[in-house]
């Protein structure tokens, strides 16, 4: 009995510590700056939501930013699904010359810090005259080893017998991929979609470097800029903006929890 209480206590404590910052963020968006900075800070919802929002809209074009973030995420996800599922499939199910090297390179690239690439990448986009474009944000992000790895791990378990049966039935290799394999790996695909969507939605460092004008910012960059303004820092407004940026991803997580967890597990544990 004591053991049960201890276990529940620890788990509830962990859940509380995990959730509290979210609660604090949402509640602070409805309070005034003074209430947040008071001792103790106000921890119940206030009535400043509308006013904070009107200040926020003055400081940052939140609808434009929301559109940018959504657009970047959706286009990135579409491209990522096409690229990574086809790459993952052939890496899992075909034997061909150079496979080991290609897969090895992709895996090693996971270990290289992104910062190494920023300077050359930036120069590249400058000389192509492509800074401050959506393409400049999306293209480098497509070199994502985790996505390919996730797809390969999941396609490894796809029954080879099905592929061979389809081959005997006269399907071309490409038809096998589109008609037989893809419809049968939907759970893995939805895990990929969710992961890639989150990755792009939260993308910060590279957009910060390559985006130049306010009308191109995504949420993370816009939030950092909002926070970077040292005069009259209004935490209520900052945390309200943070809440707005977090809500969609929170909602997606609630709906697709299972796929999220499956995505994490799929990369790690092999049967």
């Amino acid at each position: 009995m004591i053991k049960k209480i201890c276990v529940y206590f620890l788990l509830i404590l962990a859940a509380f510590l995990s959730l509290f910052p979210f609660y604090f963020m949402f509640v602070s968006g409805t309070n005034s700056n003074q209430a947040i900075l008071a001792a103790p800070p106000r921890l119940i919802p206030g009535d400043m939501l509308a006013q904070n929002f009107s200040v926020l809209v003055e400081k940052m074009d939140i609808f434009r930013v929301a559109f940018n973030t959504l657009f970047l995420s959706v286009v990135f996800v579409l491209l990522a699904v096409i690229l990574f599922s086809s790459a993952g499939y052939v890496l899992a199910k075909y034997e061909f010359k150079g496979k080991g090297i290609i897969f090895g390179f992709i895996m090693v690239s996971m270990m290289i810090p992104a910062q190494v690439m920023y300077v050359p990448l930036f120069q590249m986009f400058v000389s192509a005259g492509m800074t401050n474009t959506y393409a400049a944000v999306i293209l480098p992000s497509l070199a994502n080893a985790f996505g390919i790895f996730l797809m390969r791990q999941n396609m490894m378990n796809f029954p080879t017998a099905l592929i061979e049966a389809a081959r005997i039935d006269g399907y071309t290799e490409f038809q096998i991929f589109t008609h037989i394999v893809l419809p049968n790996v939907k759970p893995a695909l939805s895990a990929l979609v969710i992961y890639m969507f989150t990755t792009m939605w939260n993308n910060f460092m590279w957009p910060l470097i390559v985006l130049e004008t306010k009308d191109m910012y995504n949420f993370p960059v816009a939030l950092a800029v909002l926070d970077g303004n040292p005069t009259n820092k209004d935490f209520a407004v900052i945390l309200l903006a943070t809440s707005i940026a977090t809500l969609p991803i929170l909602f997606i997580f609630m709906v697709f929890q299972k796929q999220f967890v499956a995505g994490v597990m799929g990369g790690a544990v092999k049967e």
Binding site: V7, F84, F105, V119, P120, L139, A245, V261, A268
Partner: protein, 245 residues
Amino acid sequence: MKLSKKSRFFPYAMLLPTVVIFAVFMIYPIIYSFYLSFTEFSGGTYNFVGLQNYIELFKDPVFYKALFNTFFYLIIQVPVMIGLALLLAVLIEQKFIRGRGFFRMSTFLPTITSLVAYALIFKVLFNTDHGLINYLVEFFGGEKIQWIYSAWPARASIIISITWRWVGYNMVILLAGIQAIPTDLYESASLDGANFWQKLRYVTIPSIKPVILFTTITSTIGTLQLFDEPYILTQGGPNYATITL
């Protein structure tokens, strides 16, 4: 089964776009970065200077601070986080637990937030004069801690923030490992009179060693690449005390 001649090109065709993207946006920048490290930028051109940049780097005290911090985070943060994740995973898998989904979800939730978002929240919570954490510290009779402005508390705040964000992620991976352990192992351990800790020590941990290794490796890589959190939370300060490689 032998593929027909035409089909033999199929894997290459499928891989081509990915390989091109990796070559242009990953391999080329890495090589170019490596080349740049031997040059000096002056008067609008890059001049080859050999190892000079490396010599300067090794003479730079900031580099040693960064090196120290990275390894400090590594040594403290990775074991603490993996240990916590393992403990939570084992607790959640206890047979009598109800609301498993809720506990799993709530601890996993921090993983999905954007770096900027959670760094901003923690910045407010860790605020020296007005933050909730210092309020609690004072409430329990402690003295205000200069979270952002003195070296060790600033490092601690970074470790706390990172652990908060990633513990659930590692926990879920470990859960997958624990669920794959055959139940009869636990049953026979119970028959032999093993208690909670003995089961953890002799059944759970040995069975999921590969998974623990996996989480340790990915967390180590993550910590070695740590950059964004210190950048937002403390800007590498005070006096480069939190700066990383």
